[in-house]
């Protein structure tokens, strides 16, 4: 992972209800526009954020999202992290495999989200929760 320099303060959105996932989408969209991502890049990022926010809600028992504008030299981007204090992911490799679905029938969508972003970092231990951080850069 590169070391993106944060620009300004991160905006935090708690993820506790259904409509919070929608709010996360809108928040990410606003930042993506500010970072001058193209329409397709915006769409990919917001979609990834939607997946991750939902994961936080459904599998993590709720948590929060932090969205931040970042810079790497002249390039601008958006960084989004999703944190929860849920059960954690026992088998990271398995979770990142395409098509992986938990017993509840809801796919974790992690591998899909990973394909949509430029940088992806996953930190999870059973019992201590999960933190996923993604970055998308403007071309």
């Amino acid at each position: 992972m590169s070391s993106p320099t944060p620009v300004g303060e991160p905006e935090v959105q708690t993820i506790r209800l259904d409509q919070d996932v929608v709010r996360v989408r809108q928040l990410v969209r606003t930042h993506a526009v500010a970072a001058r991502l193209s329409l397709v890049e915006q769409t990919k990022l917001v979609t990834a954020a939607s997946e991750l926010a939902r994961n936080t809600l459904v599998h993590g028992g709720g948590g929060r999202a932090e969205i931040q504008l970042v810079m790497n030299g002249p390039r601008r981007g958006v960084q989004a992290s999703f944190t929860d204090e849920g059960p954690g992911i026992a088998d990271l490799d398995l979770a990142l495999t395409d098509g992986y679905t938990t017993a509840g029938g809801l796919g974790l969508g992690l591998s899909g989200a990973r394909r949509l972003v430029d940088e992806f970092a996953l930190d999870s231990k059973p019992g201590t929760g999960t933190r996923v951080t993604v970055v998308k850069w403007a071309r």
Binding site: V40, G73, P74, R139
Partner: protein, 284 residues
């Protein structure tokens, strides 16, 4: 005192000798810019920079370009260098626009006054800071410009043509790398929506070689078009390409492929409800 510019001194000098400094500065800069900017424009730029410097000097004890208080000054410098970069001036020409300030101010200093000389040395450091900053912003702006131009070139070299009511064609010419494939896909899909076309012909006659990567790109485009409710036909498949495709095991599945663009057009037209009929001598 040598390491910092006294705010008060700066404001005093700049205000007391404004006209002289402006005149000297403009003269020096226009000499290097060789008439590409009008004197009036230069005058305006110089006065804006001086005004920002004066204002900053009045607000702080020590003027430091990297301090938060100097945000406006950095902004003005950045605008200046971006404008230079976009207009095609060289990095030296841009830096000179700032360094010329040193000589202009030196000319109004009493060199026998030890204090003034000390203040000037601090000011010289400030100008160095400003020159370096301008240089960096210039470099960044040039890179941005080049990226923009590269993108524009990419856009221009991927035309989407309307062949018939509801039938679009994308003649691909040259190598199809990731960046290009992305642009082609986006342009084609948007054109489908804009023209309300349900058919697209992707012609690869002009693509020299097809490998798995290229095939993937084309496939993605076709799948995306299908998701939107449009169908694609791939045409222009040369004999060697056909052999490569089979050898590589690339599966086009149920995607129609035609050797010639003409055949692809007839296919698309028929599918969209038109028919092509050859008139006989009797009919004309």
């Amino acid at each position: 005192m040598l390491n910092a510019t006294s705010g008060r001194w700066l404001t005093d000098v700049l205000r007391a000798h404004e006209e002289q400094i402006v005149a000297a500065w403009v003269e020096k800069v226009s000499a290097t810019l060789r008439g590409r900017l009008t004197t009036a424009e230069l005058d305006r730029q110089v006065r804006e920079l001086l005004a920002t410097l004066s204002k900053l000097g009045a607000e702080v004890d020590e003027v430091d370009l990297s301090a938060p208080t100097a945000a406006e000054l950095r902004g003005v410098l950045a605008d200046l260098s971006r404008a230079r970069a976009r207009s095609g001036f060289s990095s030296t020409e841009t830096a000179v626009s700032v360094f010329a300030l040193k000589d202009a101010v030196l000319a109004v200093i009493d060199l026998n006054d030890g204090d003034a000389v000390r203040d000037y040395l601090g000011f010289s450091r400030l100008t160095d800071q400003m020159g370096l900053f301008t240089f960096e912003t210039y470099a960044a702006a040039r890179e941005e410009l080049i990226t923009d131009q590269a993108h524009q070139l990419l856009e221009l070299s991927t035309p989407v043509v309307k062949l018939w009511e509801g039938v679009l064609a994308v003649p691909l010419v040259g190598t199809l790398d990731s960046a290009r494939a992305q642009v082609v896909m986006e342009k084609l899909l948007q054109a489908l929506v804009d023209t309300g076309s349900a058919y697209a012909i992707i012609d690869i006659t002009g693509v020299p070689a097809v490998d798995t990567q290229v095939a993937q790109h084309v496939l993605k485009t076709v799948v995306a078009a299908r998701l939107m409710g449009a169908e694609c036909v791939i045409s222009g498949i040369r004999p060697q390409i056909a052999q490569t495709i089979v050898a590589l095991g690339i599966e086009f599945g149920d995607i129609s492929t035609k050797a010639s663009l003409a055949d692809a057009l007839v296919l698309a037209m028929r599918a969209s409800g038109s028919d092509v009929v050859r008139r006989t001598a009797k009919d004309s």
